[in-house]
Subunit: 374 residues, 2 copies
């Protein structure tokens, strides 16, 4: 019998061979479950977390949790596992490399989303799961949903990919490169060989700020901040100043600057720069067609994508946010056009890419309706 | 008589008092003119450059230059002057502060777009200009066009603001803050007190890369780069590696990464970090309503904007690019809705904000047509 409500657990494997060819030793997977596995062991909902998320879905996606809501532990055995390279418990650049006795740091081998689903499937096996009823996730979580279905045909019955794509776009690779450049220009970064005492916080914060903007839209910022000036006294006490900056005698300090600085600083308290760069690389490798067509088949990229999408289980629910400028709605339309009998729900919102988290009421309604349908 | 074709000139003033209250001494203005001033001294076209532009309009906006084109030196006496704080000839953080004998660096006083037009008007006076037939510019250049008309009522007959706004938005202030954070996290920045021998090139390059992305659209990147991998050998020779990075043994190096690194590096050869940060601050101050309404008038921001827009000369040509994510089309619609009898041309293009430069053929057609109309 599987664990009961709200379990925070760690699964450990002696070895795990990655797609890149490297074998990791003493691999941990931090995961969390809610609800009870039924006797058929198939009432499983797998929630896949986005870039900076963790297994604590009840924290970062709380509004969807609860009885008769999308994530209903009285109905599903809900599972979420942290991905490789993330700082929230699963083996990552912060973990000790058994061969050196020191943290991997920048020498942590590259991992892929396929590595994550293969690893997480071993945890589900350990829990006695026979199949997945539904896999759901947004952004990187949506990429993971697609890979669950493609890596294990027949194992996942329904899928809800949101604000995501079939392959990481040039645009997203480009933003990843910008973040890489930002972090590596921080003197404290030292090519990734920084110490815990002196991490590249300013670079990581700046990269996070750039990320935050790409996750939203100009409209949402205008509505929230406009040209509002931050009270200088509260700026001085609440906001980290740039070294050498004199907030008191500078030109106006806008509320939106204050917001970004606070967000950047709090992010650095919980995240790690090498982990951040690692996951960017992981997302860069995302391409559901990679290695899935015989190399002697001389077909172009579009035909390859059509062929792979056609192999996915029919009738997923694909969700878009119309103001998403990171994974624009057309990328989800491509998914819905290619997967047999897909249902596409486009949510009109100024929340941008983050809409899959922000528009929780409408997301919940769409998911509940989909889960009730046959 | 004004100078003849293609003049590259410098105008010097003993003092110039800025909006912030500081008086600059020994102020230079780098400017360029093309064509001949007519006997009425009123056939003047003022071109206002964007953020990283210069007076060399014939270089950065070449396709619009020529007989029977938008910028026709046989018809107009064309003038473009470099803004305060820009590294291309006008007084800036790179200039020597007469009071110290050293470059101003980060101590260069803040300037506004209103300072620029007041300063450039002195140059026009020196050239004998009696009025401006048309002022044209995109992005920051478009802000400058609006300020020309508002600072000198009756002096500018026609206006062509493109891809611009009535006030710098929260979104643009936020991107400015991200760039500020990026540059200041570069160890070489030293609060702006870096030397010419050791400038913060990696931070400036990373900020430029972020900027480049905001100037384009995901579609344009997808079409140009997709997931194309850069040949490793050419990457090694053509691209600046991040310190500590081993391009030969990294995961795939994408063409879009190579492109961004090359663009970032070449930008640093011509631009200066303090100038970059200075102009961001200048744009942050852009708000055509600032100080233009009696403070005892208790009206809200929207009403203030409506009131100021209504004072602008009628019948400007406002140009939008529909994929602009930095100054979205709705911001130009606001201008066109508020300025009497404004004509709005929305150019459909995947080029994003940079569309005012990239879509030169369609921009040229729209401008020529407007200039021919009465």
């Amino acid at each position: 019998m599987a664990p009961a409500l709200d379990q925070n657990s760690m699964f450990t494997l002696p070895t795990f061979r990655l797609e890149c060819g490297t074998t990791l030793r003493s691999v941990n997977v931090a995961y969390k479950t809610w609800g009870t596995l039924n006797s058929e062991r198939d009432n499983v909902m797998v929630i896949c977390h986005p870039f900076t998320g963790s297994a604590d879905v009840d924290k970062w996606w709380a509004p969807l949790f609860g009885c008769e809501k999308a994530f209903d532990p009285t109905r599903f055995f809900i599972f979420c596992a942290n991905v490789l390279g993330s700082p929230f418990g699963t083996t990552s650049p912060l973990s000790i490399d058994p061969s050196t006795g020191r943290p991997y740091g920048p020498d942590f081998p590259p991992t892929t989303i396929r590595d994550d689903v293969r690893l997480h499937k071993l945890v589900l096996g350990h829990l006695g799961v026979s199949s997945i009823a539904v896999a759901i996730g947004g952004s990187m979580g949506g990429m993971t949903v697609l890979e669950w279905q493609l890596c294990f045909p027949g194992f996942v019955r329904r899928a809800i990919p949101m604000a995501t794509c079939a392959k990481q776009s040039a645009w997203c690779i480009a933003w990843g490169e910008v973040k890489r450049q930002i972090i590596s220009s921080d003197a404290a970064f030292k090519g990734g060989y920084y110490t815990r005492d002196c991490p590249p916080t300013q670079g990581l914060a700046a990269a996070r700020m750039a990320g935050l903007l790409t996750y939203r839209s100009s409209d949402s910022y205008e509505e929230r901040f406009g040209r509002r000036i931050q009270d200088t006294q509260s700026s001085l006490t609440e906001n980290p100043a740039i070294p050498g900056e004199d907030l008191e005698h500078q030109p106006p300090f806008y509320a939106v600057q204050s917001y970004l600085r606070a967000k950047g600083a709090s992010f650095c308290e919980n995240f790690d720069a090498n982990c951040y760069l690692h996951i960017i690389r992981k997302m860069d490798t995302h391409d559901i067609t990679r290695g899935r067509l015989p190399s002697d088949k001389n077909i172009d990229d579009a035909a390859a994508l059509t062929a792979v999408l056609a192999t996915l289980p029919s009738r997923p629910l694909v969700i878009s946010i119309d103001s998403d400028v990171l994974c624009p709605a057309k990328e989800q339309k491509l998914l819905a056009d290619g997967i047999p009998e897909a249902q596409l729900v486009v949510i009109s919102s100024m929340a941008g890419h983050d809409g899959f988290l922000v528009e929780s009421k409408r997301i919940n309604t769409a998911v509940v309706k989909y889960l009730e349908s046959k």
